[in-house]
Symmetry: C2
Subunit: 146 residues, 2 copies
DNA sequence: GTCTCTGCAAAGGTTTTGCAGTAAC
DNA sequence: GTTACTGCAAAACCTTTGCAGAGAC
C-alpha cells in the first residue's frame, strides 16, 4: 500500500486532518498491512522503529483517526482497546488463550450478510433501533490450540 | 423469588460458598428480579437500603458469585462490567444513549438457536474452536429514542 | 481452631486531560 | 497569525490486591 509522505498527507487532508510527521507514521503503520493492534502496541512498534512520540500522542491520534473513519476500534479479550485498519463492516474472532484477533470471513444467511440479517431481524422482533452489528466471537485459534 | 435468609444460605452452600450477611444481601438483590447492574450500581443500591459494606467487598463477592455460576458478567457501553442474574445462554441489546440493557428474545435460524448456529457455522468455516457466543447488539432502545 | 470473609487503603492498568510550547496551515 | 498537534505529568476511571481483624464453620 502506498505510504509515501505525499500520499499520507493527501489522505489526511482528504479527511480534514492536518499533517504531522507523527500522525503520518502512525497512519503508515496501519496502511502497510491490515492489522489489529493496541495503543501500547502501536507505541512500542513506532518507538522500536526510531519514532519519537509519546503515548498520549498515540492515544490522541488513534482517536482522531477513528473519528475521521480511517480506523475503527473494539475491545480485546483483556479489555484493552484494539485498533483496526479495516473499516469495512466485518466481524472478529478473538482467541482467549493468545489474544490473537482474526477477521471473520463473510457469512450469509438466506443470501443476506450476517450483520444485516441480524440487524433487520432484531429490529422487527424487538422495536429497538439496532446499529450495524460488529460481532466478536471468542474461542481458541488453531495456532493456540496446537 | 425466594430470598429468605435460609434459602440464601442453602443456595450459597449448594454452590460451595460460605454464608455472610453481606454476601447474602448481594445475592438477594439479584434474585428479587432479573437485572443487569454494574458493581457500583450494586454498591449504591445496597447502601441506599441501609447495607453496610464496602465497594471492595462488592467486587469480591460479585467475582465469587460469577465463579460459582450464580451470576454472569459482560461489558457495558462505557466499558464498565455489568453483572447479570440470568446465567442461561442469551444475548443482549445495549442502548448507546442510555446505557440500558435488555435481553434479546431467542432467535432461531433453520430451527437452531442463533448462538449455536453461528458457533457451528464459524467452526466449520474457520477452523477455530468457538465458544458459545454471547452476542451484544448496540442500538437505541424505544424508550431512549422517544 | 481453621479457613474465609471483611474494610480500608493503596496500587494496578488503561485512557483522558491540562498546560505550555511548537509546528502546520 | 491562527489553529491544532505535541510532550509531559497528573488525574481519572474501574478493578484488584495486601493486610490485619472479625466472623463462619
Amino acid at each position: 500500500m502506498e505510504t509515501s509522505v505525499e500520499s499520507l498527507r493527501s489522505l489526511l487532508k482528504r479527511h480534514g486532518l492536518r499533517y504531522s510527521a507523527r500522525r503520518a507514521s502512525l497512519l503508515a503503520l496501519f496502511r502497510e498491512r491490515p492489522r489489529h493492534i493496541s495503543a501500547e502496541g502501536v507505541y512500542l512498534e513506532l518507538r522500536r522503529r526510531g519514532g519519537d512520540l509519546s503515548l498520549s500522542t498515540v492515544y490522541l491520534n488513534l482517536g482522531v483517526l477513528c473519528e475521521a473513519g480511517l480506523l475503527r476500534r473494539f475491545r480485546g479479550v483483556s479489555g484493552e482497546t484494539i485498533y483496526d485498519s479495516n473499516v469495512r463492516p466485518h466481524d472478529h474472532l478473538l482467541c482467549e488463550r493468545s489474544g490473537e484477533v482474526a477477521d471473520l470471513p463473510e457469512i450469509e444467511i438466506d443470501g443476506v450478510p450476517l450483520g444485516r440479517y441480524l440487524k433487520e431481524r432484531i429490529e422487527e422482533e424487538t422495536g429497538w433501533e439496532v446499529h450495524e452489528p460488529r460481532l466478536e466471537f471468542r474461542g481458541v485459534s488453531p495456532r493456540a490450540r496446537s
